[in-house]
């Protein structure tokens, strides 16, 4: 549904993404984790068509929407206007259908986006992306600057959208715990390279991944309630 093959993205003289190959299948929830400066946001911008890759291919089947890091709302406009502008290329600009899947937004419709809390803004950002009626949603740093309870609520909404509407998700996260809990499969990006990939459960068991992203001594999550493990084996071999 969404795939990148040998993708290279350069920002000036810096190679931010170097030979990345990844894929998200229809109805799948996939995470991309990695530290600051790993190239996650550059990669997702390239997948969204906002940055031109130097080489490699990107294939997208179906509608794709993107929630950028830091929300990037239209802060001078109302929540309703923010949502309707999400359907800029679409025909149905009525945000009522979003209020059905994200009921918390209905009461905020007339509020200026700039006056909302961080969690509410993130909800609007997700709702705005959903206005494009996407089959795949890319969310960059869902948890950034938000309280854990707010993040948990947002994660539940995404899981519900996935289960009820078959929405595919590519979650770009620094919070590996959240990413592994929410997604069945994950990639680890470091210095522009995919250094590990596999099912979330397998990655959680990987000593190196646990040490780098979950903290030494972390135990695999017991709250996993999403899809089962994939058959793909976790690997940390420097190639995608």
């Amino acid at each position: 549904m969404l795939s990148a093959t040998d993708l290279v993205v350069r920002l000036g003289s810096v190679t931010a993404v170097d030979g990345v190959t990844l894929s998200v299948e229809r109805g799948e929830m996939v995470a991309l984790v990695g530290p600051n400066g790993a190239g996650k946001t550059t990669l997702v911008k390239a997948l969204a068509g906002l940055v031109r890759p130097a080489s490699g291919t990107i294939a997208v089947e179906g509608r794709l929407a993107y929630v950028p890091e830091g929300r990037h709302l239209f802060y001078d406009l109302s929540v309703e206007d923010n949502l309707s502008l999400g359907a800029w290329r679409g025909r149905d600009r009525n945000p009522k259908r979003i209020y059905e899947v994200l009921p918390g937004l209905a009461g905020l419709a007339r509020r200026r986006a700039g006056t909302l809390s961080g969690g509410q803004q993130q909800m609007v950002a997700v709702g705005r992306a959903l206005m494009a009626d996407p089959e795949i949603l890319m969310v960059d740093e869902l948890s950034l600057g938000l309280a854990p309870i707010v993040v948990s609520d947002l994660a539940d909404h995404l899981a519900s959208l996935h289960q009820r509407h078959g929405l595919a998700l590519l979650l770009i996260e620094q919070n590996a715990r959240l990413a592994f809990d929410l997604c069945s499969r994950a990639y680890v990006l470091e210095n522009g390279h995919i250094v590990a990939s596999g099912s979330s459960a397998e990655l959680e068991r990987s000593e190196q991944v646990r040490r780098a992203y979950l903290g030494v001594g972390s135990t695999p999550s017991k709250v996993r309630s999403r899809e089962g493990d994939s058959s793909e084996s976790a690997r940390r071999d420097g190639s995608a």
Binding site: A48, P68, H72, F74, L77, S84, R89, A132
Partner: protein
């Protein structure tokens, strides 16, 4: 008393013209972050095209003026294409391009309309208010300018296209994320700036004859009006235009006509310094 009323009303009319030019600056800057120094050219060309429509083509006044406004809109689109048409052109480079286009336009204006000031009659007759005899054209300028600015407000707050342009002004990256072409919106804003300048030109030319280099005075006054609202607020551009127009008119009437622009702009500068200090105090 009658002299004061005359200066006030004529000042408000001229100020409305400045507000229209200023709104053109705002419309373009909000979307593109480019200060369009060819904004005065739109007014001059609109006035000249309307003049040609009246005198050479024999068109009815309203039609000639509408043609002038449309010509300014088309010129705005063309200037926009030159200023922001190429990707990754910085706002500073675009500013220099608009300045170059404004100067280059002199050649065309002189070749077609000559280098002498041009004017035509506006709304005929006058009316009496508090003992002052005032041109009916003043009322036309004030009425049309307010209607245009009201329409502009409706466009930006009630129409999807207007909201799209506001979205570009609010967050260009987010606009691109949702699929809005910021470049196309920028071109549209230049066309809008052209139309606004055009309205100013056809409304002011019966009161103030325009020559090829009148764009400088119009652009300076319009820019001063626009900067009053930080180049982002149409309402404040209107307030700025009115303050400037009335100040000019009072200085011209009570002091000396040659001082009116200098004194009015000086007063405007003081007002903006006070405004800036207040903002700092409130922050």
């Amino acid at each position: 008393m009658s002299a004061l009323v005359e200066y006030l009303i004529s000042g408000v009319a001229i100020g409305c013209g400045f507000a229209l030019v200023g709104s053109g600056f705002v419309a373009i800057f909000r979307v593109t972050e480019v200060i369009n120094f060819a904004q005065g050219t739109f007014a001059v060309v609109a006035g000249f095209v309307a003049y040609s429509g009246l005198t050479s083509a024999g068109a009815p006044q309203g039609v000639a003026e509408a043609l002038g406004v449309l010509a300014a809109g088309a010129l705005g689109l063309a200037f926009g294409g030159a200023a922001i048409g190429r990707k990754h052109t910085s706002p500073l480079a675009s500013l220099v391009i608009t300045l170059g286009l404004a100067v280059t336009a002199y050649a065309g204006e002189i070749a077609i309309w000559g280098d002498q000031p041009i004017s035509f009659s506006g709304l005929q007759g006058d009316f009496v208010l508090a003992g002052a005899h005032l041109l009916r054209q003043y009322l036309l300028v004030i009425g049309v300018a307010l209607l245009v600015l009201l329409g502009l407000g409706v466009f930006f707050t009630r129409t999807y296209l207007g909201k799209g342009m506001t979205a570009c002004a609010s967050n260009r990256f987010a606009a691109e994320v949702v699929g809005i072409s910021v470049r196309r919106m920028g071109l549209l804003s230049f066309a809008l700036g052209g139309l606004l300048g055009g309205f100013a030109g056809v409304l002011l030319i019966p009161i103030q004859p325009l020559s090829f280099n009148s764009d400088i005075d119009l652009a300076i006054s319009g820019f001063a009006a626009a900067i009053f609202g930080g180049l982002r607020s149409f309402e404040m551009a209107l307030v700025g235009g009115l303050v400037l127009g009335v100040a000019e008119s009072l200085v011209g009437g009570y002091v000396q006509a040659s001082y009116e622009t200098v004194v009015a702009l000086g007063g405007m500068l003081l007002l903006m310094l006070w405004q800036a200090r207040r903002r700092v105090e409130l922050a």
